[in-house]
Symmetry: C2
Subunit: 363 residues, 2 copies
């Protein structure tokens, strides 16, 4: 029997769309019944995910689209760049795909980000659907329309906001996910507690073991709650002019870790996990929260199996990497800090406090 199916709506006027969460969704033609159909469907995936789910998705789509093509990219953050993005364009043009093409992103965050960006740019815009197959993508990157590729000088520097037509989060895809990636995804789940929902944080403390054992009901609940919070935030601030920035809790330190080590060394979720611990420390030093709350965040991150100590890149290098962060304002780095359990905001922080956190966490 399949788990119950949840619907979460992202409310953005004419760009509104649904996230469907549950089991047995990906291969079911009914999941796609409300899409416009017609033209060509292009499934963009990678060498790891395509062999697992590609044929099932293609079969489910064949009735609605006149042509279904599959485009496989090399797997990994290291390939989130222009040459790889251009392989999508090459394949679409070779197949004669026109403006009535719909792209399907089948994979994790990298595939989702690249497919959404490719859809925005191909012939000045074709629609796309997110079919995330990692926990991280299901709770975070597939929702909200942020798309991008990396630049040698910074992560996700080149991209656009481009909302999908639909997000299909099939929990069955998580059964084949390597444990390290499940754990990395938990970082983005945990994130929603401190920034937006103290009760959810307590629920996570109670149910972390069930999530680590991939209990379907627990996973579906966590994904749903994460998507609900993200939906609310994105609906209020699609283009990250304010509120939405709180979703980047842990990401300023996290991006510096990823860029400093070279993309692909730590998983994004691992860097964010450690980044959240650092940002919680910084929130304490800025006088916003009690040390005991930061300690709870650290304990949960650590129990999940995520790193809580940062690589020793040197304080100067950290600060240099953080200055190019997109949240920077007139050259000054701003941090998402916890203001109280379940509430976050953007803050300027004296550089010496930041240096203290880096020094302590890299020992």
């Amino acid at each position: 029997m399949s788990a119950s199916k949840h619907h979460v709506t992202i409310d953005l006027d004419d760009r509104s769309y649904d996230i469907v969460i549950g089991a047995e969704l990906l291969g079911n033609p009914g999941t796609y019944a409300r899409l416009p159909g017609g033209g060509c469907a292009a499934i963009v995936s990678n060498d790891t995910v395509a062999p697992l789910f590609g044929a099932r998705l293609a079969t489910a789509l064949r009735g609605r689209y006149s042509q279904v093509i599959e485009i496989n990219l090399p797997d990994g953050e290291a390939h989130k760049d222009w040459p790889t993005l251009n392989r999508i364009f090459d394949s679409l043009l070779r197949a004669g795909s026109d403006r009535k093409t719909t792209l399907f992103a089948l994979g994790g965050g990298v595939i989702g980000d690249m497919t959404g960006f490719a859809a925005a740019c191909y012939m000045r815009g074709v629609p796309y659907v997110q079919v995330p197959t990692t926990l991280l993508a299901q709770v975070d990157s597939s929702v909200g329309g942020k798309t991008a590729i990396n630049h040698a000088m910074g992560k996700n520097m080149i991209g656009v906001f481009n909302q999908p037509l639909l997000v299909v989060a099939d929990v069955d895809t998580l059964t084949t996910l390597p444990q390290r990636e499940l754990v990395a995804g938990l970082a983005e789940v945990i994130k929603y507690g401190p920034i937006a929902d103290d009760a959810f944080f307590a629920w996570l403390e109670q149910n972390l073991d069930a999530l680590l054992l991939r209990d379907t009901q627990a996973l579906a609940h966590a994904i749903r709650r994460a998507c609900e919070i993200k939906a609310r935030v994105v609906s209020q601030d699609e283009r990250e002019t304010g509120l939405r920035a709180i979703l980047n809790f842990g990401h300023t330190f996290g991006h510096a870790i990823e860029a400093g080590l070279g993309y692909g060394s730590w998983l994004h979720g691992e860097a964010v996990g450690c980044g959240m611990v650092m940002a919680a420390d910084l929130s304490v030093r800025a006088g916003l929260i009690e040390p005991v709350y930061a300690a709870r965040i650290e304990r949960l991150v650590q129990r999940a199996g995520l790193p809580v100590h940062a690589p020793a890149l040197g304080i100067e290098r950290y600060q240099q990497l953080m200055r190019v962060d997109k949240k920077a304002d007139a050259g000054q780095t701003r941090f998402v800090l916890i203001e109280a359990p379940g509430r976050a905001g953007l803050h300027h922080v004296p550089p010496d406090l930041v240096a203290d956190v880096i020094r302590l966490r890299t020992q």
Copy 2:
């Protein structure tokens, strides 16, 4: 004394903006007085245009922006590609430009298209201003928000719709324009007659010599009328789902000529000029207009100094190049045809009629 200043508004709800047309605009700080200002201004130009107008624009902007940087790209359609686009991103990141940056496109259509695309993608979107310095850009490419780069398999295949904050069409910049480029720009001016305004077509027949002699009043009138028509069309159909396609009159054949010869061999306007003559022929063969009207179009194109005979690429090659045109629908090329003097529409045409036109025009 400066010529009188014209304002044309592109009406697109919260993306509405003005086109200012006249003399002595580019170097006047007042031209930019309603822009948000603050942050960094990045002037994107090329090695030909920057020495002529770069310093003047930079001086005019210095009061409104905390930092003004200049980014110079190599000149020409051959460089309308990813590696060149990436030089804009490199420069912005090296300068530490954040999300409060405004890009200024100072140059012709290539610079405008690339700067608009770069603005759409840099940190997921920063604003930009068009300062077109060619006739073609002033009457066409700088207005309407189409941005793109070329792909090896087709022109303008990769891009987005991204409206500028303002378009500054300073007719003084046309005094230094090479005659070949002025003539190429006239192709896009002539275009507006057959597709939308028969009285303007007659005006052009009367005033072509004045335009070729760069009479400022005549140029300002032609630019204004072209922008007014384009503004009306774009306001009704921003994303080219219908009506807007008529602006591509002559472009399906024209793009095939450009791509077939290799970009940069013929100027875009030259290819469009010849393409309009071919599309007018096709309109006659499709039974839509009288041969005498097509002959008037051909005569005007020829008097302007534009080519009316197409390069002999072979019929097969033409048809192959036109199949990847973005206006294609389920693999079938559609053509913008003249339905009556001053009215155009998209049409499917029997391939043998298209072949006849190509055969005749390439003899």
